[in-house]
Symmetry: C2
Subunit: 368 residues, 2 copies
């Protein structure tokens, strides 16, 4: 059984996210309609060698012309240099305009290989084959590609939606448990901001998900992709509504920074969601009891509900450089209740939240 | 008096090419509707300092926030390194997503600054202010941006149509005569493939054009942009019809290469057009007398009708690597008559032309 979710691309086009345990074996068949090409460049970081090699074998067995191009794994290599080296390798191998790129790996692979595809001979198709839960449910929707520079993350890039995303939960078996839980934090976020029933299901079935039950994982990926796609469809140009996807990320990013990145992104977002729900309750925007139920969901997913102690001044400094900050005032996405976000008096999906309220939420949680 | 031509962009959008002597002074007014931005990055090569500085002054006088970013002039600097350096400079200057790029200069500036805009924070608007005739009538339509690599020209890039092109013929006063004539070769091409009346007008009024009569230049740019835009509109994805823009370029590129680039692109295209018309006549595809009239037009524009002697084997080798070559056979765009291109029996806009026919055309012209 394979699930397919239609996702908005750009200029009115859509693409499919195909989800299924073992779906990787059917890649050639999906390519035939979604991304026919004379030749395929399979681009992968060197830490997903097994999956990339499997996909290459699948393609070649089906009579497709394909080559494997490696790059060094890790966010540190999500650079213009890696992009240029991959591009030059494709040119050396004489890939023409009639080729397509297949990006295999986590978020970094999708971003950097996607940017290679976006700019190779002014753009060739890309197919994303995510191998982490986070990439399956997050990077698979939105069409963003790019690389980091010394000045910051994702500052250079392009919108280049894939022709197809193939999410095979069997690929997650090689993923460390901690990385699986990190991805789960984003799924919890999708439930928290958009669908209370989905959040309840995650809380109840977290055991099956963490044990990598294929059906549970398929359902999780499909539901998260559906929810994120609905938000992107409503706000394709990031004009407003799409901001709700930043729930938990204002305090989350700040905690991540203050911890010196000893706290992972998923862990930080998990804590950030609980704390921003507390702040929302304190402001009378969020239904009382919301933070407690979110805390239960986070705990069920094996994610930390307690952050390392951080310095209040450092936290404030980190909050003030947040991208969502307006004229120096910190902005947060706030829930009205589980499954729904609140709008401020001007109809915006982020709120001015006094720094004292955020600090109080962190203090009440015994983090300062 | 300013002329405006609507040009197809991508995804059904269009943009305006505004043409007028002195139009540069009105840039702030045009930006208001076409590319409103919190801040402008004016990007220019260091050989158009005067024009770039003038535009900066115009913007600042109108109360716009603008900065000037230089890069070294010349095709040798149309590289990923220049692109990365300009991007980093914009990041250093803290340009946000709400900025726009203004590309000032010839084709190289449009390509490299356009690619900076295409990829800065996943894409910001670009406005093109061409300062060469070739950029005004050629690069201003099509939305192509990009840079060269060691493997070849324009191998990395993006389709990123400008929000506005502002073509001010007064900028051409600093252009060397040879560069003006080079641009004129492409205008002759537009007439030859699409509009006999336009070709006749160029032939008759070449004197006024070369003397930089403002009204003649405005008319020339407007008419060429209109003609090229019509072709791009018919074939936005370069599937077929757009190939007609390559008339004169098969032999032109080969002569350019064989001359060791002592012959300029415009000169080579001028010769290529006359010779491909001769070849078309020899094949019975092109109306007799066409080559002779084209030769007269080219001569009126002060372009050479005689190429330097080239080696036949070198010419054949250069012809065989042409992008339009199919399975090793040389393909040419052929006219049916002045103002109209011919289609082969399969409906294609390029023809298999036997190498002997091309060599004969060159020989008859006393070039070998």
């Amino acid at each position: 059984l394979q699930l397919t979710v239609h996702v908005p691309g750009i200029a009115g086009r859509t693409y499919d996210v195909v989800i299924g345990a073992g779906a990787a074996a059917a890649l050639p068949r999906y390519l035939e309609s979604a991304a026919p090409a004379a030749r395929y460049a399979v681009i992968a970081p060197d830490d997903v060698a097994e999956h990339a090699q499997q996909l290459l074998d699948v393609l070649r067995s089906a009579g497709r012309s394909a080559d494997l191009l490696w790059f060094p794994a890790g966010e540190a290599h999500k650079t213009r240099d890696t992009w240029a080296a991959l591009t030059d390798r494709m040119l050396d191998l004489r890939f023409g305009r009639d080729c397509a790129v297949i990006a295999v790996g986590g978020g970094v692979a999708g971003d950097v290989a996607g940017f290679v595809a976006a700019t190779y001979m002014r753009g060739v198709p890309v197919v994303q084959v995510p191998t982490t839960l986070l990439a399956m449910i997050d990077a698979s929707v939105g069409g963003k590609t790019g690389v980091d520079t010394a000045a910051g993350k994702n500052l250079v890039g392009a919108f280049h939606p894939p022709r197809l995303v193939l999410a095979d939960p069997l690929f997650l078996r090689t993923l460390p448990d901690a990385a699986l839980r990190d991805g789960l934090a984003e799924a919890v976020k999708h439930g928290a901001i958009l669908d209370e029933g989905y959040l309840d299901w995650i809380t109840t079935d977290a055991g099956a998900i963490l044990a990598q039950d294929p059906q549970a994982l398929e359902e999780l990926v499909a539901q998260s992709v559906r929810l994120k796609a609905a938000v992107v469809r409503e706000d394709p140009f990031e004009a407003g509504r799409r901001a709700v996807l930043n729930f938990g990320h204002t305090l989350g990013h700040a905690l991540e920074t203050c911890s010196g990145y000893t706290v992972s992104h998923g862990q930080a977002v998990a804590m950030g969601m609980v704390l921003e729900a507390s702040a929302g309750e304190a402001l009378g925007v969020t239904e009382p009891g919301t933070a407690e139920r979110l805390r239960a969901a986070v705990r069920a997913c094996g994610l930390p509900v307690a952050a390392p102690a951080v310095d209040a001044d450092a936290l404030l400094a980190a909050l003030r450089v947040d991208k969502k900050a307006l004229e120096g005032r910190v902005r947060c996405v706030l829930l009205s209740r589980l499954g729904a976000c609140a709008q401020d008096e001007a109809g915006r999906w982020t709120f001015d939240v006094p720094e004292a309220v955020l600090l109080d939420a962190v203090r009440a949680d015994h983090r300062i």
